[in-house]
Amino acid sequence: METDNVKNNIDNDKALRKALQRPPEEMRYPSNFAFVTMQKVRQEKYRAERRRRRNERIVLAAVCVLSIGLGGYMMRDAFRSFTEWDFGDVNMVSVICAVVCVTFFAMLNGFLKKHFTDRRQ
């Protein structure tokens, strides 16, 4: 009922509607508004991306420190006996295999990172 009343009023209030169609004096919509705002939006996206990466690094560093600490604590007995270890028993083939594996995974990590970062941008 009241909504209908307001609707009737809006139809009658021609003068008010026309007055509102006129922009306030000396106010004009800038012609380059969309362009300038879009630049700011891109900058905001870049900043947000940087914030996200920084936060990721902080979390990663914290996880690494905790893992190393935990690993050290769990392997404390092994470390204690490390000094008594005879390095003559180490098989060179297994060392080479380990180096190759680490190199392979490091390269794969680099490739995937580059590939997906490029696609996202």
Binding site: E2, T3, N5, V6, N9, I10, N12, D13, K14, A15, L16, R17, K18, A19, L20, Q21, R22, P23, P24, E25, E26, M27, R28, Y29, P30, F33, A34, V36, T37, M38, K40, V41, R42, E44, K45, A48, R120, Q121
Partner: protein, 189 residues
């Protein structure tokens, strides 16, 4: 859901998927309207421009929060309104004319009807000035309702008040405008 709303949903999904450039559609489509609404609340060119830009940047950063409970334009206006009100609160508020509540309530609805329907050039000019004397809330209300032609429900969503409150305030603003017109026209004589 209209075709335009469906297309906008697709564009929103695309922007959220990383295609930032698709956001330019919303700037082209709603930029003039958002600026127009803000310029009614903050009638200083540089401030209005900055607030309109902040509105769109805020919309972009919170795009994932747009749940679609209202039209995208209403959501944008809601952000614009909040930005403008925060700005007005933090800066020295513009002087708005205070009228006695008793005087406003005493005005007959039919007088306001008549005063707001006569669309002569002189009346329109007086009304334009009278709108500038309203408080920011009241200006937002009449701008949304008369200029943007939103429904009372949409205005309620944008301004964060109830639908009933919108209707009560609209009646009051119409009476206030009548008193302002009368005062200005009497002052000119």
């Amino acid at each position: 859901m209209t075709i335009q709303e469906k297309d906008e949903r697709k564009l929103i999904a695309s922007v959220l998927g990383g295609h930032t450039d698709d956001f330019s559609y919303f700037l082209e489509r709603y930029g003039p309207q958002v600026f127009s609404v803000i310029s009614r609340l903050v009638p200083v060119q540089e401030d209005a421009e900055e607030l309109a830009q902040e509105t769109f940047i805020s919309a972009f950063t919170h795009l994932a929060d747009f749940a679609g409970q209202a039209a995208f334009s209403s959501w944008l206006y809601r952000i614009a309104y909040n930005k403008a009100m925060t700005f007005l609160r933090s800066h020295a508020a513009r002087h708005t004319l205070r009228l006695d509540d008793m005087n406003i309530e005493a005005v007959d609805e039919s007088l306001a009807d008549e005063a707001l329907s006569v669309d002569t050039e002189e009346r329109i000019a007086v009304l334009n000035k009278a709108v500038g004397m309203l408080s920011a809330d009241e200006r937002m209300l009449v701008t949304m309702f008369y200029m943007e032609e939103h429904t009372a429900r949409e205005v309620a969503y944008i301004m964060g008040i109830t639908e009933r409150n919108v209707i009560v305030r609209l009646h009051r603003v119409r009476k206030k405008l009548y008193l302002l017109i009368k005062r200005m026209e009497n002052g000119n004589r």
